[in-house]
Amino acid sequence: MNPHSEQHEHLDSATSQRLAKLGQQPIDTSALEKRLDAAMSESPAEPVTLHLRRWLSPVAGVAASLLIVVGLYLAISSGGGQAQAAIVELSQLHHDIVAGRIPLTPAETVEQANTWIAEQADSAPQLPADLGQVRVQSCCLADVQGDLVAVAVLQVDKELITLVVAEAPKFAHEMGTVIEIDGRRYFGHELNGVNMMMANLGDRWLCVMGDLGDERLAEIAAEVRF
């Protein structure tokens, strides 16, 4: 073995050992185990519950320990699961809009939409004043993770596109595929079958989502001006 390989293996081993220590932190999981146990006991079908509980008890122990890893992973992957949870809700919001489960207010212009939004709630964020070539079709307000977000429904290339403006930092999720246009970075995700492109616009977060491809969604987002 050449000296470089030896040194590399030595380094690998040291790195691996250091990482292993992350998984050895003593964490009190008793409360978590109680919650897991309680959740398992809520099964309505008693025979099934009894059957499952024969081996769910060890599952609870393992699940509790793995939740430590889940927590660690979420912390590592995004600086917290809150942003991911907000994104999950945003993707569901698009599904609900497309499925007609959310009442929409027709609006022919962004001004009309913003007037309606301001009438509903002073604290709600406003939609961008300029959407470029894209025309707004309707609008609504939505509660995502306890924060009001302004929503515009657009029709682009025969697809319904949902544009969301949020102000809470929990929407900041600078991960995923990055597309850069005019110096601004757009972060792309695919979640629940929805393509999403997001950008940080000062103290606002913009999310454009729908069935169009990343590049097209990023182009739409890039035309937005507040």
Binding site: H8, T15, V59, V62, Y73, Q84, G176
Partner: protein, 148 residues
């Protein structure tokens, strides 16, 4: 918990940890693109190969790696992990943090065992590369040749 919803898929006698981690990984995978427009494991592996190719030179600068790595607090290590690309991060999380065997990690990540081994090695090299500037900044070691 998604594991409860999929509990019927667990087969008693099989590896429970791998089963749960697979659910976790599949849950997480929803958060990331799977088509070719997105960063894929192949391109990451290619990037990792470049890093690995650089590592012998870098490696020489880690004269006492265990001692140096232990000086970093957990938060710094986690921050460095956060900087790694998704497949690299997952590999280290499963193999090193969670101490899964290579076959188990390969099953969870749905990839070849050889890929796990090579990716783990490259991911560790990337992790060290991410930590090196901080070690220099804290005065724990001296920068040699301007770049780690």
């Amino acid at each position: 918990m998604r594991a409860y919803r999929h509990i019927e898929t667990f087969k008693p006698g099989t590896n429970m940890k791998a089963w749960l981690m697979t659910i976790l990984r599949r849950t997480n995978i929803d958060l990331h693109r799977r088509d070719q427009r997105r960063i894929d494991a192949g391109s990451l592996d290619a990037y990792g190969a470049e890093v690995a190719a650089l590592s012998p030179t870098q490696d020489e600068q880690w004269s006492n790696p265990s001692e140096l790595l232990d000086r970093f607090e957990d938060e710094a290590i986690e921050s460095a992990l956060r900087s790694l690309a998704e497949p690299m991060r997952w590999t280290l999380l499963l193999v090193d943090v969670e101490q899964m065997s290579v076959p188990e990690a390969a099953a969870v990540l749905d990839t070849a065992e050889g890929t796990i081994k090579s990716r783990a090695s490259r991911a560790r090299a990337q992790l060290r590369e991410a930590l090196w500037p901080e070690a220099v900044r804290r005065g724990w070691t001296k920068e040699v040749g301007g770049k780690p």
